[in-house]
Symmetry: C2
């Protein structure tokens, strides 16, 4: 096959594949938001048909030849096409190397394991899910062996979620933050209950909270022509292209900040997608480059910007405007302190900025040891509880609020958790370098987040997947990842807040 | 091709085709409800890809052979498969008989005409759209000639929207209702403004209106596990299968009945889809059999049930409960009279039960004459205005509120309007026969609509498209269509209300 023919076929396959992706995205979004409960019945068969069509589109000899031809000439391709081809080649690799029957069996296992996890969590019964987890680990090892013979299996999967990642890097990262944060958390605990949070639980009508959501979206320059806001129990962001991004939030009458920080977090994800380069429209790389870089943006806006003193001073008058009664005896400073209160807790998704990474560290240590065979699945709950006590100083009362709380492992995602902690740490490093060029705090206080967004667009957003995660960070910061920025950021912030 | 092979191929094509239909439906629903404005950019290319795939799936020699083989043996097929094959054969016919380039040119014309209509309506400029309408009429005649040589072109298109329909039948129908309703409307007009409606415009908070929507859905036994409710400017119903039906409504603070009757109307459409037979699940005929039978159900619930004295007595206490202040000086009887006030108006979609069919009659006469060449497109606005004066006694101030108000003609749908009036008339005939078996009014008053729905399910809903429109009506009523029921129903109701 000549290169010209290969390019034509590649583009035609891409055109169809992008349409399928769009459809899968909308079906899933609709299912999470608008669909009646029993929608799943018809959805299952439609998803099955589309998955088959998508599989046939990609897994065939002609497409292999197209990809192989283009990969053989990759240095002659323009940078965008080259990255598209590389990504496709990579995602096809597993499909080509794993025997079809094993692949299908794994898909069935995943689906069964998810159902079993829902039940196990409901009944607080780890024993129910343990056999599935054992099979998942065995399969993940097998895939690593087939696709990257000789490579450490856990490293293989870390790379799947974040190119360039390894246990070596993560050991260093988590070692650094453990040594700094565990004593810091202990010091704060010893201070006792010094921050007032009573007003955060006051009833705020949902219609008014919706107005606050709109105000927050305005502050973040989230254009509603390109980005809608919906409601779901668990907030999320999805996108189909840069002109069609969807965030969701949830409303609880007794927690106005839960909604507000959901909007800011998801808004951070949305900004990344809304500002990928126009040159990437219609390509398969018009999207955030990795999950950790994505989390760096959502957590940057949620915590580094959204929980900064400057932002609290900007937003608090709005909050007072929408909820005059509820916040009449509260100052902006009290609000700032309340939303930054650090307190070890059981559930990762509800953790504060300081303790969050330690939740991830527990998961990292356990999944690394499960993959190396150092720990058996049946011993995981006990180790989980021991580590929570060691790092966070708390007792886990049951597996429901322990090892069973997150679905990731039971959906086959082993090696995914570290991205969350990395994202937080990247954010601190990005802030440091941003502050060399502008006074971020002053910009936030003056409601000029557009300047910050423009900087992030120029350094990160516009590249989409054109740059790999490591390259993105280096492009933004001019240096490799360094966890010290994160440790310093948290230490300084907490020292000031708790007067340590 | 042997019949067994043909069946296998037919089922495989159907499986994929149903998935595409599901996807088109969800994409469209999402676009109407949740999508940000600029979603259309990505949607256009995804719809294009899917349309191509759907076209290739059906329009090919193998599929023609499949359909031809099964049609040749249709008497040997089970009834469900037979109807599926007949429907497919029919819908393929145009694609097979119209040369591809003409078909494509028409699709382009449709798209351009729609845009031109939006602009023409905005600028009150019929001249802008007239050339498109001329081309549409020419093409519709050409299609009729190719697909049904020798058949009257307008009759061909009436049949496309409602199998078995003809100008002969419609002339008789509209002649009958014109002779009865025009004098009736005149008599009511002469009575003057005798019905009090001031309270219908009182401000009712939307949060409370939403509770009323839920109450109405409960009364109509619309199970939220199978049927969701959303919000759009123009309410509509869509469905993907019998376990996934979506209705929408709109909320105006100054019109609680606008929302309520939207929910009831769309709820009528939804009931039909929710109660198609389980034996039709996964087939291509699990859907209402035609637009007029569908309208017969939505308008049956909206007007015949929803605007009955019994229903007003049932719902009024609820309304008083949700809006005590707004309705404190109103009686159930005053409410009943207000929602039945008959008043000639300019806009079809806002017309009352009595005058509605006359709006349709104007459109019927004009489209029939356009298709026969009896009237030129440029003369249509003048004729429109003359007929509104003649039938409804009102002057049309401009084309925006006249001939340009509806999009149908400018989207190629010529022959579609009569279904609306037929639906209303079918409803009255259905009521008559239902009343022979039960006291419909008493059941409504006692909040037992489930008995009515069960009757409709048994007589109409469960068949889906297994029966043709005429057969459905005959099955429900034991006789052919007779417009006298409709005339009598309206005459009796209005005579009582206006004390004529």
């Amino acid at each position: 096959m000549d290169i010209q023919k290969a390019k034509e076929l590649f583009n035609e396959t891409k055109r169809i594949s992008l349409a399928y992706s769009h459809v899968f995205g909308v079906l899933s979004y609709d299912n999470e938001t608008a669909a009646p409960k029993n929608s799943y019945m018809g959805l299952a068969s439609t998803n099955e048909v589309l998955s088959e069509l998508d599989y046939k589109l990609k897994v065939n000899e002609q497409n292999f030849e197209v990809i192989d031809t283009l990969m053989a000439h990759k240095d002659e391709l323009d940078p965008i096409l080259r990255r598209e081809v590389e990504e496709d080649a990579h995602s096809l690799e597993q499909m080509r190397k794993i025997p079809m029957d094993e692949y299908t069996a794994y898909m069935v296992l995943m689906s069964e394991a998810h159902t079993a996890w829902v039940e196990a969590k409901l009944n607080n019964d780890f024993g129910k899910i343990a056999p599935y987890l054992e099979k998942i680990i065995a399969f993940n090892k097998r895939v690593a062996e087939l696709c990257a013979p000789g490579m450490d299996a856990y490293n293989y999967w870390l790379n799947e979620f974040e190119q360039g990642l390894s246990t070596e890097k993560l050991d260093a990262f988590f070692g650094r933050i453990r040594s700094a944060l565990v004593p810091l958390i202990k010091k704060i605990s010893e201070k006792g209950d010094v921050i007032r949070t009573d007003f955060l639980g006051r009833i705020c009508p949902i219609e008014q909270q919706k107005k606050l959501s709109e105000a927050v979206m305005d502050i973040m320059h989230l254009d509603r022509d390109d980005c809608s806001i919906g409601e779901t129990e668990h907030p999320f962001t999805t996108h189909f292209n840069k002109h069609d991004v969807r965030i969701t939030t949830h409303y609880h009458e007794d927690s106005v900040v839960s909604n507000m920080y959901s909007v800011i977090h998801e808004g951070g994800h949305a900004l990344y997608e809304l500002h990928t380069g126009d040159d990437l429209i219609g390509t398969s790389i018009a999207s955030g480059t990795s999950m950790s870089i994505h989390e760096s943006q959502s957590r940057f806006f949620e915590n580094i910007i959204g929980r900064s003193r400057a932002f609290c001073e900007l937003i608090f008058p709005k909050i007072r405007e929408f909820f005059p009664e509820q916040f009449k005896d509260v100052t902006a400073n009290e609000f700032y302190l309340a939303v930054n209160k650090a307190e070890p807790s059981l559930i990762r998704t509800e953790a504060d900025e300081l303790t969050y990474s330690l939740h991830i560290m527990v998961r990292y240590e356990l999944e690394k040891r499960m993959m190396s065979g150092e720990i058996a699945v049946r011993d995981v709950p006990g180790e989980w509880n021991r580590l929570y006590k060691e790092y966070l100083g708390i007792d886990v009362p049951d597996d429901r609020r322990g090892v069973l709380q997150d679905m990731h492992w039971f959906g086959g995602m082993i090696g995914y958790f570290p991205s969350y902690a990395l994202g937080s740490a990247y954010g601190a490093q990005i802030l440091h370098h941003m502050n060399k060029e502008m006074d971020t705090g002053a910009l936030v206080r003056e409601n000029k987040l557009d300047v910050i967004i423009a900087w992030l667009t120029e350094k990160i957003y516009k590249y989409g997947m054109l740059l790999r995660p490591e390259e993105v960070l280096k492009n933004a910061c001019g240096e490799d990842f360094d966890p010290d920025y994160y440790v310093n950021y948290l230490t300084e912030k907490m020292t000031e807040i708790y007067d340590l």
